[in-house]
């Protein structure tokens, strides 16, 4: 191919869009709406109208600036509520508790409001507004937790929460092929029917006619043979398929990432987290080893281990015990991104030891989170980090929802 240089050209087109790069981190945008009746400027409140003909002012068909500002705040609060509603029931309940205080802290939570549309119904004197609000997510979350948890309590008043956080990772999965067992039986039937028929007919007759005598003697003989044969053969096969569950080998270790992530959030929320290692009861085998052994072989703690764990906490006057397990799967290649992907399954429970018998006040999961990364280690860290954040949020939401302090 010979390029025709006289026609060779390169055209560069560069287009541009906008670049809003001053949005602060942890700011979430959400849309909201509000509808409110309006009266217009204060003068419109006079029912008699103005002027000699007592006609209403033209301005009275539109909301006043004050009413617009009020409506804008209402729509922005609706946006905050929509944002919180996405986090589930416990967050919504928590929002109900902060609704009033949110009004006073409006400027701290809502960083900006953009009015998208406004429609005024002059007949019913109602105005509807749609806005997009930029919301400080971090401040909102803090406010939600602060209203429910005992953050205002002194250190002595705060409840201690023992934490037993363990992580296990799959180090190998032995998969069994489906085993098929078959049996067969054959049934054969054969039948032969035969029939032989034989008939003989004799006939004699005499006839006298004058002086003559005629004798007629006839014998008729018939024979027949009918044969039929039938043979059937039936083969019956039956079998069973036996599928065995994967044999999974785990390695169990303390979930430091999970523990620190949840611990820090508990601390912020007003609890005194205590590491599980500090709640040892000096028994044999050590409590943590026993917990690890249980978790390394199955999904549940043995009853004796659980009782021993709670008893150890009770002896130390620890009111709450948080037991959390995170299980990391084997790394695989994510088909979409091509990166390594690791799943993490998390379960967590919080026991309240204030009564005669321990009671479960929080149950989270099992929930599955996944992490992506250039290698399996990064992917696992991302998965556990994601799992920890969500678990901590769920634990605290449930604690605050139940007003547990």
């Amino acid at each position: 191919m010979r390029p025709l240089t006289s026609s060779l050209g390169i055209r560069l087109f560069t287009g541009l869009l906008f670049a809003p790069w001053v949005l602060p981190a942890q700011v979430v945008s959400e849309k909201g709406t509000a509808t409110k009746p309006f009266t217009g400027p204060p003068i419109c409140a006079t029912p008699k109208g103005v002027g000699r003909d007592k006609r209403p002012l033209e301005d009275c068909s539109q909301p006043s600036a004050t009413e617009i500002r009020t409506l804008q705040r209402l729509a922005a609060l609706n946006a905050v509520e929509r944002l919180v509603a996405g986090d589930g029931e416990s967050s919504t309940r928590a929002f109900e508790r902060i609704r009033d205080s949110l009004t006073t802290r409006f400027d701290q939570i809502v960083l900006g409001v953009l009015e998208l549309s406004r429609s005024v119904d002059t007949d019913s004197k109602q105005v509807t507004m749609h806005v997009r609000a930029d919301i400080s997510d971090a401040r909102l979350r803090d406010l939600l937790r602060a209203t429910a948890a005992n953050t205002s309590a002194t250190a002595a008043e705060r409840s201690m929460m023992g934490m037993f956080m363990l992580a296990r990772s799959q180090i190998g999965v032995q998969r069994f092929d489906v085993e098929r067992r078959e049996s067969s039986s054959t049934m054969a039937n054969a039948r032969v029917d035969g029939r032989a028929d034989s008939a003989r007919k004799a006939h004699e007759a005499e006839s006298l006619k004058g002086a003559s005598v005629t004798l007629d003697d006839r014998v008729t003989s018939t024979r027949g043979i009918t044969l039929s044969a039938e043979s059937t053969s039936t083969v019956a096969r039956s079998g069973t398929s036996i599928a065995r569950a994967d044999r999974v080998a785990y390695t169990v270790a303390a979930a430091q990432d999970l523990e620190s992530a949840i611990g820090s959030k508990l601390n912020v929320a007003g609890y005194e987290p205590v590491e599980g290692a500090l709640l040892e009861d000096d028994g044999e085998p050590p409590l943590l080893d026993e917990v690890r052994a249980d978790f390394g072989t199955g999904d549940d703690l043995k009853a004796t281990t659980l009782r021993r764990m709670l008893a150890a906490a009770r002896r130390q006057s620890v009111r709450f015990v948080l037991v959390g397990f995170v299980e990391g799967g084997l790394p695989s290649t994510d088909e979409v991104s091509g990166s390594q992907r690791v799943d993490a399954k998390v379960t967590a429970k919080v026991y309240d030891l204030s009564g005669r018998l321990p009671r479960t006040v929080v149950t989270v999961g099992p929930t599955v989170h996944f992490g992506l990364g250039p290698d399996a280690g990064t992917a696992r860290t991302n998965a556990i980090k994601s799992a920890a954040e969500e678990t901590a949020r769920a634990v605290l939401d449930q604690l605050s929802n139940k007003q547990v302090r």
Binding site: T5, I10, D334
Partner: protein, 387 residues
């Protein structure tokens, strides 16, 4: 091989008036540098971006990796970027290739006009939200126009990559990445209350499809995408209005990108506050003069433009606009350049609307706006959304 640049100068001239105003603003913030990415599934990158990947490899072999050149371009354009991407720490910027395609048009008795298009976006990504959210996109589109005696063969990609390399990572002051960085730096830094606008391209009439058949055949999706790129580029340049990445540039509303730190993110594009929709696009073409060497055509374009607020489905503004531009075509390319006339008229009409709205020019609207409904709502909306 002789290369020359066209239109690029005109484009930069178009934004020159705003550069000084924007650069006067003090920037207290800084952006993280996320490098170069591809908006596609990992398995599809090599197959979909053959020329881009070759350019990337060639640039690396010559010691000018795309990421490094882009970083240098940002810094030369006085954009406060810093390296070391930390996901939990605010805004990042990256160049992401999003498309690559080639069209071949037969020239009667001469050969074939081959156009290779590389498309990308400089993305601004907010890691502050729950997931990586694209808050802005600066399209960077490069077309390599070539005339060959025969249809391009399997080795053609190599030749194109070598030819385009100097323009993308070449001379530091003129390469494409620096030009894009300069445009990026010239944009004002909007606040959180700036509108999020998305431009959509709607229906095309059969004549428009026919006019573009020389380039795209009957691929109406590709025609719309090409028109979309043209309209968005022109509108933002003339109106200086922020816009979100187009819906058609993402797969199912989500984009995948691999960044300099090796991580792959699923990018979310937020819902728009307003949708600027250009629809019912009609193009007509008629010979208006010329001579043996060139022909002059009159190309008319008409479309409806509306702005809709999607949450309340409120139509903020609506109008029907039309414009005729003269298109001069060399005899050699008369058979292949019918599409150029459509593009040029689309650019002229879009730029005129945006400029008139920005100037608040009632007379222009009265003379050109068939429906007369978009005035004064369009200028008012523009003032509000892109103050």
């Amino acid at each position: 091989m002789r290369l020359h640049l066209t239109l690029f100068g005109a484009f930069l001239e178009g934004i020159a008036g705003t550069t000084s105003r924007a650069s006067a603003q003090a920037r207290q913030d800084s952006l993280q540098f996320a490098g170069v990415a591809y908006l596609a599934n990992a398995q599809e990158v090599d197959a979909k971006f053959t020329v881009s990947r070759k350019i990337e490899r060639l640039a690396g072999q010559q010691g000018r990796p795309l990421g490094g050149v882009l970083l240098a371009a940002f810094r030369r354009a006085s954009i406060p970027v810093r390296t070391g991407l930390a996901r939990s720490n605010g805004l990042a910027v990256a160049l992401a290739f999003d498309d690559e395609y080639r069209t071949v048009e037969a020239l009667q008795g001469v050969g074939y006009k081959v156009v290779t298009t590389l498309s990308g976006q400089i993305l601004t990504i907010d890691f502050g939200e729950a997931m990586a959210t694209v808050v802005s996109a600066l399209p960077v589109i490069t077309e390599y126009v070539d005339v060959q005696e025969q249809r391009p063969g399997p080795r053609y990609d190599d030749a194109v990559a070598e030819a385009m390399l100097p323009l993308i990572v070449g001379d530091a002051e003129t390469n494409l990445l620096f030009a894009a960085a300069t445009v990026f730096a010239s944009l004002p830094a909007p606040g959180p209350t700036l509108c999020r606008v998305r431009l959509d391209v709607g229906s095309l009439d059969s004549t428009t499809v026919w006019l573009s058949a020389s380039r795209f055949g009957a691929d109406s999706a590709r025609i719309r995408q090409a028109l979309h790129n043209t309209l968005i580029r022109t509108w933002v340049t003339a109106a200086r209005q922020p816009m979100l990445p187009s819906a058609s540039s993402q797969a199912q509303g989500q984009m995948q990108a691999r960044f300099a730190n090796g991580e792959i993110y699923r990018l979310r594009v937020p819902d728009p506050d307003y949708i600027l929709e250009v629809s019912d696009i009609r193009a007509r073409r008629a010979e208006a003069g010329g001579n043996a060497a060139r022909r002059v055509d009159a190309v008319g374009l008409q479309f409806d433009a509306s702005v809709v607020e999607p949450m309340s489905h409120t139509t903020v503004t609506r109008g029907t606009f039309r414009r005729v531009v003269m298109d001069t075509i060399p005899t050699l390319r008369q058979e292949t350049d019918t599409w150029t006339g459509v593009v040029n008229s689309a650019k002229a009409l879009t730029a005129a609307i945006a400029a008139a709205a920005r100037r608040d020019d009632r007379r222009w609207f009265e003379a050109n706006d068939v429906a007369h409904t978009s005035y004064p709502t369009l200028p008012a909306w523009l003032r509000k959304c892109a103050p």
